[in-house]
């Protein structure tokens, strides 16, 4: 059953049950279904046809859910972009998808850096969406009493694909606009629900533990489970979280836009195995390739990249995704991640290609040369740092440089740290020596 069919069924069986909470607003299943039908009629009258893409900004509100489901209701393709996507990027994506034709089964196109390190439109079929939701429902034992807090961007799979299973089982989704207002996060637990759960990237878990550990501990009896993923979580943070929430299930999940949700590990087991992502979920299969990279198959995987046959053929072979993640399987069948191929930098779950930042910085006249590298922040973990060689050895004005980069890049791609240097180290053939800067 698709997400929209499930919402329709719940609107009949439990019409007054709240489907989505967002700040002071909420909508019941019957209200949600009525809104979806009305929005679908509106989109249809605007010319949206089946199997055609609809590009829009993923606002963190109920309206996003309505539009997303309405697009699917018309058998059209939802293309949600970040709410703060630059206008030129929005236009470029729209031009790209408008010029393509799509298979009948495609329902979502999500733009991601992911496996290739370049921004790509990942095409996902209805089968992939339903199978991914089924993975969560079965492995997390989701039930209708659950309220699930979504604080990440709804254009990102980690948030969007949590909305699917929760609404499919008749639960409630609570949408927050990020975690910067931690009080808003804790206020959700005052709502009249018996079971709460959420997805938090490791940086957000650390943020909560650093600045509100006692409040987290006080929620031990309310939190059914917390899922993390999208970036590595340390054994220390696993253990601290388990101490705060001794009875909760605490999952570390391997997921990705190209692969869906694939493996999960409940680390509230006293072992706190760093890098462990557990066993494959119900609809997924994981093999370890000859180079140690994870090869993922099953109905959750993508159908391909938009207008990019070359990268599709490289990543998707015989229905199997050849991921950039390196790992191994232990004697118990548990999979452990050891690292990742390529130069992508993972910042709070966003996979960022450093070349994009370097290109933006190099287009600024005062920048002679630069390299974007990973740096460590005491709370957030990995952040971006830009090493810069200035033209004519001028002084580095990091405020001016940051402001210029902010006008050229999405907010999460703007480096946090800046440092002037005399030269950027290169390899014998003139390429940036990224290996040196990783040390």
């Amino acid at each position: 059953m698709t997400l929209e069919e499930s919402i329709h069924a719940h609107s009949v069986a439990t019409p007054d049950k709240v489907a989505v909470e967002c700040g002071d607003s909420r909508i019941t299943y019957s209200g949600l279904w009525d809104s979806i039908v009305r929005r679908a009629a509106g989109l249809q009258s605007e010319g949206l046809e089946p199997h055609r893409p609809y590009v829009y900004r993923a606002t963190q509100d109920i309206d996003f859910v309505v539009t997303y489901c309405a697009v699917h209701h018309l058998k059209a393709i939802a293309v949600p972009l970040e709410s703060k996507a630059l206008e030129e990027n929005f236009r470029a994506v729209k031009e790209e998808v408008d010029s393509c034709t799509f298979d009948d089964g495609i329902r979502d196109i999500l733009y991601t850096t992911g496996t290739t390190g370049k921004s790509k439109g990942v095409m996902l079929s209805e089968t992939a969406l339903v199978s991914c939701a089924d993975n969560f429902i079965c492995d997390f034992h989701l039930t209708p009493e659950l309220l699930f807090i979504i604080s990440g961007p709804l254009s990102h799979i980690a948030s969007l694909f949590k909305m699917h299973p929760i609404l499919t089982v008749g639960g409630t989704v609570c949408i927050l606009d990020g975690l910067k207002d931690m009080n808003a996060f804790f206020d959700v637990f005052r709502l009249p629900y018996t079971k709460f759960a959420t997805f938090l990237v490791p940086a957000s878990i650390r943020l909560l533990m650093q600045f509100s550990y006692d409040r987290l501990c006080a929620l031990a009896d309310k939190i059914d489970f917390i899922e993390t993923g999208a970036a590595p979580i340390s054994s220390h943070d696993m253990e601290q979280l388990a101490k705060a929430l001794p009875h909760s299930r605490l999952y570390n999940t391997l997921g990705g836009t190209e692969i869906g949700a694939v493996c999960t590990y409940d680390f509230n087991d006293g072992k706190y195995m760093e890098g462990c992502i557990g066993r494959p979920m119900k609809n997924s299969t994981v093999e370890i390739g000859p180079d140690g990279n994870l090869i993922i198959s099953g109905p959750t995987v993508m159908s391909g990249y938009v207008a990019d046959a070359e990268n599709t053929a490289r990543v998707l072979q015989d229905g199997k995704i050849h991921s950039a993640d390196i790992g191994f399987m232990d004697e118990d069948g548990m999979i452990h991640l050891k690292g990742r191929q390529g130069d992508v930098i993972n910042v709070g779950g966003y996979k960022i290609d450093p070349v994009e930042i370097e290109n933006a910085a190099s287009s600024i006249p005062s920048v002679k040369d630069c390299i974007c590298i990973a740096a460590t922040h005491p709370v957030i973990g990995t952040v971006l740092k830009l090493l810069v060689v200035m033209e004519d050895d001028a002084e580095l004005d990091k405020h001016a440089l940051a402001r210029e980069l902010k006008s050229k890049l999405e907010p999460h791609k703007v480096p946090v740290y800046y440092e002037k240097t005399d030269s950027i180290r290169r390899t014998y053939n003139g390429k940036l020596d990224r290996k040196y800067y990783k040390q």
């Binding site: 990020g178 975690l179 910067k180 207002d181 931690m182 509100s212 952040v383 405020h399 907010p411």
Partner: protein
Amino acid sequence: MREHILSLLSDALPTVDFGSDFLFSELDSLNIANILMILSDEYGITLDATDVTPRNFKSIDSLVSLVESKLNK
């Protein structure tokens, strides 16, 4: 104190416009974490999630008031 806090925060968060009267809306969770850490370390005060309110983070002046209220406790 205002100029010192402004200098500290501007140096650590070069992308943030601390002249804004709508500071909270400009910040993300990383910025918030940085501000809490910097002010806690510099002034030896305890700041936690309950202090992260739109009112306390409205502007550089409201952050200064937050620090002063903690120091006076």
